[in-house]
Symmetry: C2
Subunit: 331 residues, 2 copies
């Protein structure tokens, strides 16, 4: 099998069609559907499969319900939109724990309520292997105001919200046998929750798009190097990242991990990665006060060298390969 | 695990929310989203899983691509809408046949083009078991003109398009080892194609809704008895079906099967089942000429006895249990 991205590109090329209502199709975090009255619809779909994306043994049902929706809300956030509606397609193995399913629904709907997003349909079927969840979210944004991946320009600053690598470290802790429980040392809770219960940056994303601060934007699902590469590919630019500036999670003695590597390549942080024109940087820095719980960090800049990423560390500059997750190939 | 419908009802009850843009959420073939400018959006999602809904050994890739989209288009047809956009979430096992996937995409896009429906997004991931396909379709209809399940009234005539039981017989033939090939006796091709390549009744559905001929409508996916029960449940009515009127597929010597049972309970015909007020029956019968390839057959009438189905045969009337497919329990 070809790589995931080759296959997506192939489908993308083969499916390109003109439609008066379609502003942007495959290739971004969500599709944009044009409608009159000053609003555009955003639609996105994402799936979580048992033993591929999560294991039941370390994932409480409520958090799985939350995360299944949250990863989709994060895509809407990365467009600068507001989630409105969603559909759930779920496949359940024979004999699956009913209480777990109830918890799943509860967690999903709690998160939906938090974002005033309404479940409007779906599909249930049997599964021959594990639990399989596919959610489609429909959101909207002001016309012409969606933050796409293709708007980065040489000279732009590259920003990221929050900390990087937290989710990857949380996953390692879970794989090492750590669990959310009373016995868990308190300092381990944050990375584990970052992995099991990521918080989509909906309000921040909307703010950055509506004020035209983010020239381009994406959410960090595959990992910084891969997701930055997506922006560079779509925008026809390159980027240089400064290692010392990365908001690396300070794990202390929490985990045996190369924290910088996790920050560069670890997936599923669901933070926002975005580019800012120089004339907009002051506006962004001023906006930091409005979002006291979400740090904006400048980690580098956009360059002219198409599809090339570099990492600057200790004054030296080396090529940075996009090494995020490929669902067909593993790491 | 509870039955599929119990679980759906539970999710439905737990997820009921007010939203000014939402006309109809869970419980019909598609959700209805209200938008100004005289159009409503319709969104629906449906999934096909390998070895649950299909087997690769008897399903050509192109036909699987077609069917994956067609079953969703059928839901839009059953609302009287026009499909516009769709999203594809697909999970692929390691080492899966690449040529088959290419055929899948080709078939899917051919059907999309036939219905001028545009793929606008999606998601690809690995699968630990078989191929898993979830498609979400977004369509629209004229405001207030969607044909819902809850509009049947006592005295209405019950109509169905096409023939019944064809798909179920096709599935039996496939399970008996018959395959689409040059050696296949020509009379077996029609039932097998009905199963592998169902034709969504989009034009008919739209006609019936826009002319307010269908007071209620559903597509036949679970089987006549189950789908009629869905209409009766949502409308608070019952129905009597006349066995002699059923457009049973005349299999001749084709298959050892109880053809009437397949017509009553066999799934996946993707024909339309709809109810017609007495004052609209003449208009429907006159419209038959416009659709020479799709027969409209009156098979019974709606009654006052809530949630009760009866089968009239040879002058006798007996209770008809909804026995369609429950994805959690099998037949």
């Amino acid at each position: 099998v070809k790589s995931e991205f080759e296959w997506i590109n192939r489908i993308r090329a083969a499916s390109r069609r003109f439609s008066p209502d379609l502003v942007l199709g495959i290739g971004d975090d969500a599709a944009i559907l044009k409608r009159p009255q000053g609003k555009w619809w955003l639609v996105t779909t994402d799936a979580l499969f048992e033993n591929v994306h999560f294991k039941v043994e370390y994932t409480p049902g409520k958090l799985l319900g939350h995360k299944s929706l949250a990863v989709n809300l994060s895509d809407i956030a990365a467009m600068g939109g507001t989630p409105r509606f969603f559909l759930l397609a779920i496949a359940v193995p024979d004999g699956f724990d009913e209480a777990y399913l109830d918890e799943f629904v509860t967690g999903m709907l709690e998160t939906a309520d938090k974002h005033t997003t309404v479940l409007v349909g779906g599909n249930v079927s049997a599964s021959q292997s594990g639990l399989a969840i596919t959610i489609t979210v429909i959101g909207d944004c002001s016309a012409h105001m969606a933050a796409r991946r293709d708007g980065a320009m040489p000279g732009d600053s590259v920003y990221v919200t929050g900390e990087l690598g937290l989710s990857a470290i949380g996953l390692k802790l879970l794989q090492d046998g750590r669990r959310l429980s009373e016995e868990l040392p308190p300092e381990l809770e944050r990375p584990i929750l970052a992995h099991l219960a990521p918080q989509p940056r909906v309000a921040v994303g909307r703010f950055l798009a509506e004020n035209r601060i983010a020239g381009s934007m994406i959410d960090l699902s595959d990992g910084l190097s891969s997701d930055l590469f997506h922006i560079c590919e779509e925008s026809g630019v390159g980027a240089v990242i400064t290692a010392e500036r990365l908001p690396v999670f300070d794990a202390g003695t929490v985990a045996q991990a190369d924290l910088q590597q996790e920050a560069l390549h670890g997936g599923e942080d669901y933070e926002l990665l975005f580019t800012v024109r120089s004339e907009k940087v002051a506006e962004l820095e001023a906006a930091q006060a409005q979002f006291p719980n979400v740090t904006f960090t400048c980690i580098g800049r956009i360059t002219e060298e198409t599809r090339r990423l570099y990492l600057e560390a200790g004054g030296r500059c080396e090529l940075l390969e996009p090494k995020g997750y490929d669902h067909f190939k593993g790491r």
